[in-house]
């Protein structure tokens, strides 16, 4: 798709400014994977983009902003659980920075292309609340991946990609597998031809006794307990 040198330069500049759509972005990423000259040029454009805010007239933030940041970081520390410990696990930690960007890209794309429900204001409000991101890897469905945003004060949403479409009578189901208690269902969902879904998640009252989070396939009406193969799995502890 990208052939001429000039054409790619155009794309690199727009990429650095965050001004390409998903397929154009993918083209650039494919190209720079094998072209060190373009990769280096892109890094320069990205530096240019990131200093642009220095050209703005500076405005001081409201004083309460810092107080709120402190309160939120302390609230997270006070509830140490397996999920917080997970941040120390190098693989998850390394994913974190990627997730921030992937998250935005995926959500944007979902909101544009998803045949399913568009993200409503409640989902948007949710994603602004303090919480944590949990990554699910496609152990049983290698092309798939997912992330769950679980808000500190309950509720959450799941963004998943790379799953196959199912027959009408089948659906995917998200499970919180707990130690010493039955697994609770977090969501029942299907994916469209894009292989993606973005759904609200019912989280258990506490994540502290959650041993694992998995996605399975089952009847469209949902199962009382996880059945069949674990397609996606979160294992955030060593």
């Amino acid at each position: 798709m990208i052939d001429g040198r000039d054409h790619l330069d155009d794309e690199l500049a727009a990429y650095a400014l965050g001004s390409l759509d998903a397929s154009e972005r993918a083209d650039v990423e494919t190209h720079i994977a094998s072209c060190s000259a373009c990769k280096a040029r892109l890094a320069e454009y990205q530096t240019v983009a990131s200093v642009l805010p220095l050209g703005l007239e500076p405005v001081a933030p409201p004083p309460e902003a810092w107080t709120r940041i402190v309160v939120a970081t302390r609230a997270r520390r006070r509830r140490p659980s397996q999920w917080l410990a997970a941040a120390k696990w190098p693989a998850i930690a390394a994913l974190f920075a990627l997730v921030i960007f992937w998250n935005v890209a995926l959500e944007r794309e979902l909101s544009r292309r998803s045949p399913g429900p568009a993200p409503g204001p409640d989902v948007e409000a949710l994603s602004r609340r303090p919480g944590r991101v949990i990554i699910l890897a496609g152990t049983g469905a290698p092309a798939s991946s997912a992330r769950i945003f679980a808000a500190v004060d309950g509720g959450g949403h799941l963004a998943v990609s790379g799953l196959t479409t199912l027959p009408r009578d089948r659906a995917y189901q998200l499970w919180f597998v707990r130690s010493g208690a039955p697994a609770t269902s977090g969501a029942i969902f299907i994916v469209g031809r894009s292989g993606r879904a973005w759904v609200k998640v019912t989280t258990p009252a506490s994540l502290d006794d959650v041993r694992n989070i998995v996605v399975t396939e089952g009847p469209a009406s949902g199962s009382p307990a996880p059945t069949g193969r674990e397609l996606l799995v979160a294992r955030p502890w060593p």
Binding site: E44, Y45, P58, P61, P62, A65, A87, P90, R132
Partner: protein, 208 residues
């Protein structure tokens, strides 16, 4: 990435402020004070950027808070080889702000406001900033001033407006190719003008 930074031990220079990387290392040890120092250094810039994008002081404050919370939670993941700390912060903040900007609830909210967004807070005083930052601001402003008006507009619609090249073309009623090459010309010009900023590794070393 963690190994690379820990192989270079902390070396504070007498009487000088810790470098950004020192602060990230201290944050990795759990030092909240280091996060506060980082906030004092870049909070104003993050807020200014967020305000420019979302046009609403309250939403800008949310972006500011989210950005520093993400920084705290992602402190293990920061990779110095991918760019300097402030650029990392700006990336997080811009993504967050654009996300909000494109969300329907935000657009509805802005529509409700008859007077439109009020981008500047008259009570807030401009930030003084370190001398090096003042110089940096001047360099960036001069570079932007050297762009043609259409070039500057292309950059601003993309970076602050969160629009794709196609959306910009649509909005301006111009061919996509024109918008793309104009964006590239603008970025190329800025790249040349801002060349001294281009080597993040060297700049970090100078700071240490």
């Amino acid at each position: 990435m963690v190994a690379a930074s820990s192989s270079r031990p902390h070396r504070g220079t007498d009487g000088e402020e810790p470098s950004d990387l020192d602060l990230i290392r201290e944050m990795r040890l759990g030092a909240e004070a280091a996060l506060e120092a980082l906030y004092r250094r870049y909070g104003g810039l993050v807020y200014t950027l967020a305000l420019r994008i979302v046009g609403d002081p309250e939403l800008a404050r949310e972006v500011l808070q989210d950005t520093f919370l993400s920084t705290w939670e992602g402190r293990e993941a920061y990779d110095p080889s991918r760019g300097r700390v402030p650029w990392w912060l700006m990336g997080i903040a811009r993504n967050r702000a654009i996300d909000l900007l494109r969300s329907r609830s935000h657009q509805a909210r802005l529509r409700e406001r008859h007077d439109g967004p009020s981008p500047s807070n008259p009570a807030a005083s401009p930030l003084a900033g370190a001398p090096s930052e003042v110089a940096l601001r001047a360099v960036v402003r001069q570079a932007l001033a050297l762009l043609s008006i259409p070039q500057r507009q292309a950059v601003e619609l993309a970076y602050y407006g969160g629009l794709t090249q196609s959306e910009i073309a649509q909005q301006l009623g111009e061919p996509l190719g024109t918008v793309k090459s104009r964006t590239r010309e603008a970025m190329e010009r800025l790249r040349r003008l801002l060349a001294p900023l281009m080597d993040p590794k060297r700049t970090e070393r100078e700071r240490d």
